[in-house]
């Protein structure tokens, strides 16, 4: 199988910089993945529609604004609505410990808190997809 992981890195919410998102995007590219990057201020609707058009295996959401719970909830609901819940969703950013189980209950697979190395993210994805796309 000659497949390459496709990852959408998106930055929902209102806050104004995407340094973290770009760092992870470049790291995943250097690990041999195809990274679709959409820039700042993406709505959950745009993220999910983009994920479908780009047929990604993974969505990585970078969040700093504190509105992570409703944003993640909406993304996960929309994915289900479109029959695209097989896409792996992970999150990164400043997310309080207590909120992680809440996000996981929506179906978010993994939260990377600040200080996580890009290596860990890459290893997580490679492990998850080691048997190919589900």
């Amino acid at each position: 199988m000659n497949r390459r992981l496709r990852v959408l890195i998106a930055k929902p919410g209102l806050d104004g910089h995407d340094r973290g998102a770009k760092v992870i995007a470049r790291a995943l590219r250097d690990a041999g993945m195809e990274v679709i990057y959409t820039g700042l201020h993406q709505t959950p609707e745009q993220i999910v529609e983009t994920a479908i058009q780009e047929d990604v295996d993974v969505i990585g959401l970078s969040i700093l604004s504190g509105a992570h719970i409703p944003l993640f909830k909406r993304v996960m609901d929309l994915l289900k609505e479109k029959g695209a819940e097989d896409i792996l969703v992970f999150g990164g950013g400043v997310i309080p410990e207590d909120d992680i189980p809440v996000l996981e209950s929506f179906g978010v697979k993994k939260i990377f808190t600040p200080g996580t190395s890009t290596r860990e993210v890459i290893e997580y994805l490679e492990e998850y997809f080691k048997n190919g796309r589900n």
Binding site: R4, R6, R26, D30, V35, Y37, G39, I52
Partner: protein, 309 residues
């Protein structure tokens, strides 16, 4: 196999998920649908294909974004394939063209797909023309293809398009040199983007002087248009230029010629793909040549037997 049949069926019902899944299969495992692919195409090529190329940062994606808006105002549906370079070392790619086009993300009559160039020559692999065929079969009125082009490689995208745009900017002082080297004569329209920047007028005059009497292989003189995507200026002039080129092709029977050439070029790409795929599966001939057991000429004879079996 059943999964593929279901996809093809969904595609015919114009399911977007099926469209995007099929593009992935084209990119990764085309052989899986190769035998059935023609069923999707039903012989017709109706979309108008616009190729957009130029150096990184010239403003191709920003331009396509505005062209989408303009075509949508005319009620036309638009499919976009945006190709960015794949890193030869890692195989990965940073696909950032969508950043400029996200205002169209929720438009049901717009479909945008990013692709890594992977191993394609001139930024174009077999995947790109196949994906264009698929968008065509899906029924988009307009298809735009963005590729990064430097010099000679531009030609590949122009072969794939009905109208080929080359985007240059006042900053890139070497563009005129490229013209003189004769690499760009197949561009139908030269877009001088960033016309809000200094030097655009001078560049325009230079292009006019250099290209004034130049005609391409079918007798068309490239049109030069100044655009500023930040100021949203020059877009209607560009649309007009595309229209002039289209009418020229209709009046001079160039359309059919272009499409025939495109079919031929796709045929070669498919043959190349099929031969390589078959030989990889067969295995022994490639190994024998590598190890020096047989010479390349004997290899060809053996390979022909395998392929024709």
């Amino acid at each position: 196999m059943e999964e593929i049949d279901k996809l093809l069926e969904d595609f015919k019902k114009r399911d977007r998920r099926a469209l995007s899944r099929l593009i992935t299969i084209i990119e990764n495992n085309f052989y899986k649908i190769q035998k059935k692919f023609y069923l999707l195409l039903d012989g017709t090529q109706k979309s108008y294909i616009i190729g957009v190329t130029g150096a990184p940062g010239a403003g191709k994606s920003s331009l396509i974004n505005l062209l989408i808006s303009a075509f949508r105002k005319e009620g036309k549906s638009v499919g976009v394939i945006a190709v960015d370079p794949t890193s030869h070392r890692t195989g990965g790619a940073f696909l950032g063209d969508r950043i400029r086009m996200q205002s169209h993300a929720l438009d049901k009559d717009v479909f945008i797909r990013s692709m890594g160039s992977r191993e394609g020559k001139g930024g174009l692999s077999l995947s790109t023309p196949l994906a264009v065929r698929l968008l065509d079969a899906y029924g988009f009125d307009i298809i735009m293809v963005e590729t990064v082009g430097i010099g000679q490689e531009d030609i590949e995208i122009f072969k794939l398009s009905d109208t080929g745009l080359l985007v240059v900017t006042p900053e890139s002082g070497d563009d005129i040199q490229l013209i003189k080297a004769g690499n760009l004569e197949e561009a139908d329209i030269i877009v001088i983007n960033k016309a809000d920047r200094e030097g655009a007028d001078r560049l325009y005059k230079e292009f006019k002087r250099e290209l004034g009497n130049v005609k391409n292989s079918y007798g068309f003189s490239p049109i030069i248009v100044k655009v500023s995507t930040v100021k949203k200026e020059g877009i209607s002039e560009l649309i007009e230029a595309i229209d002039i080129h289209k009418r020229f092709m209709e009046d001079n029977r160039v359309f059919e010629k272009k499409r025939r050439e495109r079919n031929l070029s796709l045929f070669y790409l498919l043959m190349d793909y099929t031969i390589r795929k078959t030989l990889r599966e067969e295995g022994i001939i490639l190994k024998d040549i590598e190890s020096g057991n047989i010479d390349p000429f004997t290899g060809v004879k053996k390979a022909m037997n395998v392929i024709c079996e």
